[in-house]
Symmetry: C2
Subunit: 347 residues, 2 copies
């Protein structure tokens, strides 16, 4: 950081010593009262006096100082860049919001940390500076063993990653993307489709999610002799969708699983504009999206989609709390949710 302004420009924050003086008690008493440890130690009237003095002086306990004393902070760091929040879809944002609320009720502060990092180790170093009690690596470069080790050594009690491959020492919060592909593929195959395109977003940030979805469709197709699965790369633009639709006759596919509803909507519209019929009926191109976006119901035919049902945010917050309180718990995979198909008109 560039040089801060001189100290004369900074107002002096009130200290717990000032609160203690004003309330006529010791600093330890102030600490007990303001950190919720007064029961059985400090009388009710004294507690009220301490709170009033803190209020009058505008004193707020310093989370950082508390974490220095306790060796552990109250921060639960959720690593994901801000633009990943809408990229993951509204269900993810709702989950995050509910999760932050649930953490708050357990006494933690869930912050989204989205700074870019050159490597997993560089990311871990940035996160460690905040001395979080737990880190959830939701998005970004996959963590490795050295990054987990650095976090643990600097006092992070619990490290969790999403995705099936957690590095040593980290817990996995598992939302099996493969299952999304499996559900979409099974639906299309049951309807008699045998030449299935699978859209892979050109955005490299989404590869870690798109590849297992493709693998899921392949797994579903393995049970159907003669079924063929073909990856199709699509950028999130109308132009890219128009180009893919123009190639459709040469591709000779009768169905497509389009990664998510946004890509599905782009392709569905481009296929229609190129004169192709989209729909569940035989002879039409079947299109399946994912995420169950509200807006995907506004196109015609209405989009068939795969939707994730995630565990209640409270349950995940309690899990994180338990892992923080038992840092020696052996790393395990914890299921975050499952996928199911929502049939509408497009497939």
């Amino acid at each position: 950081m560039t040089d801060p302004a001189g100290p004369e420009a900074t107002p002096t924050p009130p200290t717990s010593a000032a609160v203690a003086r004003r309330a006529g008690v010791s600093r330890a008493t102030v600490s007990y009262v303001l950190n919720g440890q007064a029961a059985g130690r400090v009388g009710v009237r004294t507690q009220a006096r301490v709170r009033a003095a803190a209020e009058e002086l505008g004193y707020v306990p310093h989370a950082a100082a508390r974490s220095l004393r306790a060796g552990r902070g109250r921060i639960v760091l959720l690593a994901a860049p801000a633009d990943a929040v809408p990229a993951f879809g509204p269900l993810f944002a709702d989950f995050l919001a509910g999760f932050q609320t649930a953490l708050h009720h357990l006494g933690y502060t869930g912050v989204l940390h989205g700074a870019p990092a050159a490597s997993p180790l560089a990311a871990a170093r940035d996160w460690a500076e905040l001395r979080p009690a737990a880190v959830l690596a939701l998005h970004g470069p996959p963590l490795d063993a050295a990054a987990v080790e650095l976090l643990k050594r600097s006092g992070t009690a619990a490290v969790l990653t999403t995705g099936p491959q957690a590095p040593p020492g980290a817990h996995a919060l598992l939302l099996d993307q493969r299952e999304a592909g499996l559900r979409a593929g099974a639906h299309l195959l049951a309807a008699g489709r045998r030449r299935i395109g699978v859209v892979l977003p050109a955005d490299p940030r989404l590869t870690a999610f798109a590849e297992p979805r493709l693998a899921g469709v392949r797994d579903a197709a393995a049970a159907h002799p003669g079924a063929e699965v073909r990856p199709l790369v699509l950028a999130r633009t109308e132009e890219s969708a128009t180009r893919l639709a123009a190639r459709w006759p040469a591709l000779d596919l009768d169905a497509v699983f389009a990664y998510n509803d946004e890509y599905a909507m782009l392709l569905l519209r481009a296929l229609q504009d190129a004169g192709h019929a989209v729909g569940a009926a035989p002879g039409r191109i079947a299109v399946v999206g994912a995420d169950d976006l509200l807006l995907a119901r506004l196109l015609r035919p209405r989009l068939t989609t795969v939707r994730a049902e995630t565990a209640a945010p409270d349950r995940i917050a309690h899990l994180v709390d338990a892992l923080i309180r038992d840092p020696s718990a052996p790393p395990a995979a914890h299921r975050l949710g499952t996928f199911h198909l929502v049939p509408r008109e497009s497939a």
Copy 2:
């Protein structure tokens, strides 16, 4: 927070003293090197030795300890719940991501803090526990003077709010929502529309944005004798849009500004399903959205929209840095961007 596990469960983080011992230097030297203040004080070889020792021990400087010493942290706290990120639209998410990157390059850590709070003062108290160098109140209950005062007293150098009414002591980052309504209204009035509906989302979190947009349309209409502006409440559901479309004949409106593209898409589809023609041609219902969503171009007619051009995230990051370094700078309003109309087919 519930009781942490006993100390035996916590690995002991390496200290700067351990780094100093290993490198054979003083703790002050370690501090100079790892906090970027070594130039002219510590030789290049010694710097390399300190860095190597820190690397070997897995030592990371503690941002909190540094802020305790300096009286000020490196955290720039962006207050907005996670589900507000997509609610504000993809432009906002892109801005946030760019802003976090720009802050990172200036040596700050931009974290999104989304915990719920019962009041502005309660929110400020939660934020203050992280001792942020700056707070940007992007969303949530509007800050008041007491909340700003509490933040300042606990060492936050700069408090910024979005929206035109900043409380005393806070800077305003101004994206004038009234202008969005003004642009939409002017476009519709220039096309000869005189009975204009304005959609207000039923979601109370959006009222602070919707009301000034309505006021902007009213301002535009004031110059046209006989022009009429009518607020219409709409929930973000297909059912609510269907109900509003069913009332349309009684409303007798020839145009609508629909808050944003999502509400516009819902209403456009519902109007079409109810047998109304939507479009720019006379006799059709003109529909204008806002945000310029990619998906809004997939409906037919393509949606006419109002789009915000925001200042480069770098510029705002530099502004925040300047305000942190000069906490006595008199509060002012800083323009975040402007709105312009993107004409397509629906109006």
